[in-house]
Amino acid sequence: MRRLVFLSCMLLLGSGFLFGQDGDPTQERLKALEERIATLEAEVKTLKANQPAGPPEAEAATSVPVSAPAAAPEAAAQAATVATSTTPTPLPVYGGASAAAKILNPDISVIGDFLGAVGRDPNRSVPTLEMHESEVGFQAIIDPYARGDFFLTFGQEGVDLEEGYLTFTSLPGGFVAKVGKMRSAFGVVNTLHNHILPWTDRPLVTEHLVGGEDGINDAGLSVARILPAPKDIFLEATAQVFRGDSGSVFQATRRGDVLTVGHLRAYRDLTESTNLDLGVSWARGHNDVGTGFRTQLFGADATLRWKPLRRAIYHNFLFRNEFVWSRRDQLDSTQRAFGFYTAADYRLTRRWTVGGRYDRSGQADMASLTDSGFSPVITYWPSEFSQIRGQYRFTHYADGRSGNDLLFQFLFVLGAHGAHPF
């Protein structure tokens, strides 16, 4: 190509020179030639743009990194695309000669959750020091139609499959379906893994009415769809059917004792920095009293977020409330309990966050017993991939006793852990 342009230019200049020999070198002609050269330059650039980008010379020779953490499947596929379609650069695979086979492996991550406690709480015993949970994640795109996510948790009591599900991402009609074991879409906190929580523990209402740390987490099917709504309002409905076993909240004794969960979410950006997120949830299943004894849960949640886009990494604010009503059939009566928490978090700087939570909840099997408490929390972020958190927890129990705990937590992420939904 360069030769072609060079020859063209030489020809043009040469012809100009010849004309000059004729003794008629007008300014107009020179100008025309200059313009012609400029046009040719532009054409060369355009043709170059049509060609694939070559790697920079320095990188081209040595662009095979030796080792790296497992990369996201998206990125891996991107790399494959780059290599095949545009450059002769070898695939940027990692981990040595056998890495070409590993590139299709799922993203693997480990999240450590180390918890410590001092103080005294008569009803909630937290060991002085414990490796509270180690979550191992495997995440990958399975085929053009689905992706898979597995999260195994290693805790003090053994290994558990926290979640393991298949998500169908290419269904017609805008539906997104999941199959497997998953945290149900009841409320907000129930959907969150421990390491996403802004506290070291879960609110009292979760512990009393929504199954504690494991929450409503069961094998089942889930279908979600964004619904038509007035402009700029996001409205999403989720319907789920589970086997019916979720810790102490729901228990199936027969095959037909399934648990059904519904969730409706409405979201709107109030400004570019502020948004409001509202949700209502419903769950109905059988409880541990026996067949024919049901538990119904109704939930409502409201979250207000503020995050200025120009300073998103330095400051943000979140105010969240979640209310749960429980109706539980028992041998002698139907217990109607209510609980809620209200929490706020403020990011002071890039590394420091402060927050607090107020809890109040009746107990599912004895609604008249209401516990309450509050927790100030402070978190330090050495980087995106680790957090150090301190939380003072005061709890006033219905039996008149009180708990005073000082909890501290170290959270750390190894490997490629996929981003969580908003």
Binding site: A38, E41, K45, T46, K48, A49, N50, A53, P55, P56, E59, T62, S63, P65, V66, S67, A68, P69, A71, A72, P73, E74, A75, A77, Q78, V82, T86, P92, I141, P144, R147, T167, T169, S170, L171, G173, G174, V176, R225, I226, L227, P228, D232, F234, E236, Y267, D277, K307, L309, R310, R311, A312, I313, R351, S383, E384, G418, A419, P421, F422
Partner: protein, 316 residues
Amino acid sequence: MDCRHNLLRRAGLFVFSLLFAVLTTEGAARAASKIKIVTSTTDLAEFASEVGGDRVEVESIARGYQDPHFVEAKPSFLLKLRRADLLILVGLQLEIGWLPPLITQCGNPNVQLGAKGYLDASQFAEILEIPTTVVTRGMGDVHPFGNPHYWLDPENARRIARGIANKLAEVQPDGRAYFDQRFQDFSNRLTEAEKRWNAEMQPFRGKKVVTYHRSWPNFLKRFDLISAGEIEPRPGIPPSPGHTVELIQMMRRDNIKVILVEPYFDLKTPNSIARETGGQVVVMLPSVGGEKEVTDYFKLFDYDIGLLTRAFKATP
């Protein structure tokens, strides 16, 4: 019993009607002829608009003054994505913290990874800083596939625009000539603008600068400038006192006076470094829309080069 059956039948009919209404309404909306494009950043939106003209509708998820690494995966973005015919992203893991969950949740088969409407612009561009050694998080938030801020080179802009034009022609074959003509026009204007930018930057070739984050390798390479260091001790790690002192000493030693900062970083540390070294902080825009008046790619370079040349002149 009959009453119950009737009730169930009515409920079933209602749900079916609702579903039918939802699907047909959306089907009608999709029938519109314009190609709906969602891009992750404003720069890609700019390239798509340039070559797509009035045959496309383009929306960007991130704003030009926002750090593209830390965009929130808001549900409102799902509303954009679910109707998109084409998603164009920067790639190289720039959006890894927020785009994958949006793609998974949007319920739009067109924009899933590997689908016809998924376009990773990095495949067209010259990528710099591809790691050649073991990559660990000890190095900070390093992108293992290379630096994703590649759009800040006009030559890459041209290549990306060409790639987008080809993709648009694939989506709408009868528009090929139109997209090619639009690309040609963009490319010609870029060629003219490059002459101006090169001339303005010519006196400062070989100059060293300090940057906050490694956002500028393509820009610096294009204009023969040299990055002497970053305010972040490692990518994504906030400035530390020790590293800042070392940086000040290095800047004094090498007589480096210009500090480039993206609009989403705090200016406290850059300003204190500038005070100590007699330097100047330049809030350069990495993206279109970083300021109100920077409405296109040409104005982005005009703005940045204007700031930079003034800063070089003020700090000889």
